[in-house]
Structure formats: structure tokens, C-alpha cells
């Protein structure tokens, strides 16, 4: 059976269980899902087209030379820098990383890209500074960058 169908079945079973327990809450949940869909689908459309652009215009050699295993640890750093500046929804991170992987990117570099794309955001810096202060923000972003690099090395060695 198709894996997507399995996930969908699980989601619907949970939805039915939720509805049996509390119809009102379940309606709220569906509304929340709709809102997420409205936010994420347009971004996904852009990301999917960008994936096409990468496939059509960037050769395998180029991706492999920047993010491939030949780059070693530098590839992790490049992945992290790209991820830090990437303004993409977490849901879009994995499909995009998938294309990079198909085009020869190393697992270490992909880990760097995925984690920083989720955890470090140039676009969220102002909000973070406003809510938690400069010291907190600097410490968190720098420390995250360093620790992700170390995890990237683990990925490079194990996978």
C-alpha cells in the first residue's frame, strides 16, 4: 500500500477519535489545519517550482562540488549558511533538502541546512531580540550554529 495512504488513514482515525471526544475542539482543529494549509501551500508551490529551477539549471556537479562529500566539513558550513538565510517554512525544508540530496549533497551538509533553516532565521532575529534581548539571541544563534556543525560531523561519519 502507498505510504501516503497509511499516513492519511492515521490522520483520519485520530480526527474521528477527537470528534468522538469533543466535536467543538475538533472543529477548531480543522480550522487550524485549514489556516496552516493556507499559509504553507503557497510557499510549497514556490519551493516546488524552485526545486524545478534547481533541477533544470544547476548541474549535479555544481551541487556536489558545494555540498558533496568531497567538500568534507566545509560542506556542512556551507549548508548551515544557506539554511540560516533560507526563508522557508519547516514543512518545505525537507522536500527541498530531498532535491539537494538527489543532486549529490552529502548528509552532513543536508543536516546543516535542515537544522539551521528551522532553528536560525534571519527573518525572526528582530522578534527574538525584542522578546528575549540581544545577549540571549546572540548566544542562541551562535551556539546553535556551532552545535549543528558538530551534529553534521556525526551525520557525515555515520550515514
Amino acid at each position: 500500500m502507498d505510504i501516503g495512504v497509511i499516513y492519511l488513514s492515521i490522520a483520519f482515525i485520530l480526527l474521528i477519535l477527537s470528534a468522538m471526544k469533543d466535536t467543538k475542539k475538533t472543529k477548531q482543529a480543522l480550522k487550524a489545519s485549514g489556516k496552516i494549509a493556507l499559509t504553507v501551500f503557497p510557499v510549497l508551490f514556490l519551493i516546488f517550482i524552485l526545486m524545478g529551477v534547481v533541477s533544470a539549471f544547476v548541474s549535479k556537479e555544481t551541487i556536489a562540488s558545494w555540498l558533496g562529500s568531497g567538500r568534507g566539513m566545509l560542506g556542512i558550513l556551507i549548508g548551515e549558511v544557506v539554511g540560516s538565510f533560507a526563508l522557508i517554512q519547516p514543512a518545505a525544508v525537507f522536500p527541498f533538502a530531498g532535491v539537494l540530496h538527489d543532486r549529490g549533497a552529502d548528509y552532513g551538509a543536508l543536516l546543516g541546512f535542515v537544522m539551521t533553516a528551522i532553528l536560525i532565521g534571519i527573518s525572526t532575529l528582530p522578534l527574538e531580540i525584542q522578546l528575549f534581548g540581544k545577549q540571549f539571541t546572540l548566544t542562541r544563534n551562535i551556539l546553535t550554529f556551532v552545535l549543528v556543525f558538530l551534529i553534521g560531523i556525526v551525520f557525515m561519519l555515520i550515514l
Partner: protein, 169 residues
């Protein structure tokens, strides 16, 4: 809601312009771009719908109140342990997580807990199906396994650094 729709339309417009320009300059490349985008869409659509439904359910059943009850007052190791695992299962983006954490911080959660929370939230367990589909289960499992120690180290280390900075200041 209006802003949501407007943002959605902006994204769609930008995407169509990019695709349109490519298709006009080179119809063959334009077709290729469309094919890759369609393939990725078909590969992901069922999983994405399932994930959205589950995230919606999590948002309603594990609301901010539940979280702050769990994390606001729990101090020490127990708080850190909770902060390094529970956020794995919640959705949202940094834009929604930061305000929630500000509330927790104001309610007395430690710096270590807040830092661990953000990091563990990056585990993104609800998106696991998508991650497995595009990057393989070995990548996904290793990442989820490492995110918990990552969150704990992140919490302790940043607490140490920020305490030191505060004392020196």
C-alpha cells in the same frame, strides 16, 4: 485572515512570474521545471495533508495552557527533561514559538528550559513522514535521536554563558 490570503496570493504571483519567465525564455526548461514541481507535489501531497490534520489536532489538544502548566513551574532536571522532549511534538514556526516562550519565561521558566525548548522544537516530529519520504528513515531517525541531547546541551551551555555574561556585566 485577510493578511493570510494576501500573503498567499503574493507567493503564488511570485512563483508564477518565475516560472513564466523561464517558460518564455526556454519552453523546454519551463516544462522540465513544471515536471519536477509536479512530481514533488504528487510525492508529498497525501503526507502533507495528513501532517496538517495532525498538527491542527495537536494545537487544539495540547494548547499553550497545557504547555505552560507543564513547563512553567517545573524547575531543575525535570523541567529540562520536559523542555527537551515535549516540544518535539508541536508545530508552528519560530514566529509562533517565540511569543509562547516569552509567556513561559515570564511565568518563571529558566533560560536553560527556554533554550532547550526552542532546540527540541526543531526536532519537528510531526513532519517526520515528510522527512522520511525525502531524506530516508536513517536520516530522520538519527536526527530525532540526536536532537534531545542537543537540546539538553544547548540549555545547560547557554544558561552557563548567559549567567557568566550577566555576572561580568
Amino acid at each position: 485572515m485577510k493578511k493570510l490570503v494576501r500573503d498567499a496570493l503574493i507567493y503564488i504571483a511570485i512563483t508564477l512570474v518565475i516560472w513564466g519567465v523561464i517558460a518564455i525564455v526556454s519552453p523546454a526548461k519551463g516544462l522540465l521545471v513544471g515536471e519536477v514541481a509536479y512530481g514533488a507535489f504528487m510525492k508529498a501531497i497525501e503526507i502533507i495533508i495528513a501532517v496538517f490534520i495532525i498538527i491542527g489536532l495537536i494545537q487544539v489538544w495540547v494548547g499553550p495552557q497545557t504547555l505552560s502548566r507543564l513547563l512553567g513551574k517545573e524547575a531543575g532536571w525535570k523541567g529540562l527533561a520536559l523542555a527537551s522532549t515535549i516540544p518535539l511534538f508541536i508545530g508552528g514556526s519560530l514566529f509562533t514559538v517565540f511569543p509562547l516562550l516569552k509567556t513561559l519565561r515570564d511565568k518563571g521558566a529558566s533560560i536553560a528550559c527556554i533554550m532547550a525548548f526552542i532546540t527540541a522544537w526543531g526536532g519537528k516530529a510531526p513532519l517526520l513522514p515528510l522527512e522520511i519520504e525525502f531524506l530516508g528513515w536513517r536520516f530522520a531517525v538519527l536526527r530525532i535521536c540526536l536532537i534531545i541531547p542537543f537540546a539538553i546541551v544547548m540549555g545547560l551551555l547557554s544558561q552557563f554563558i548567559l549567567d557568566k555574561l550577566q555576572r561580568d556585566a
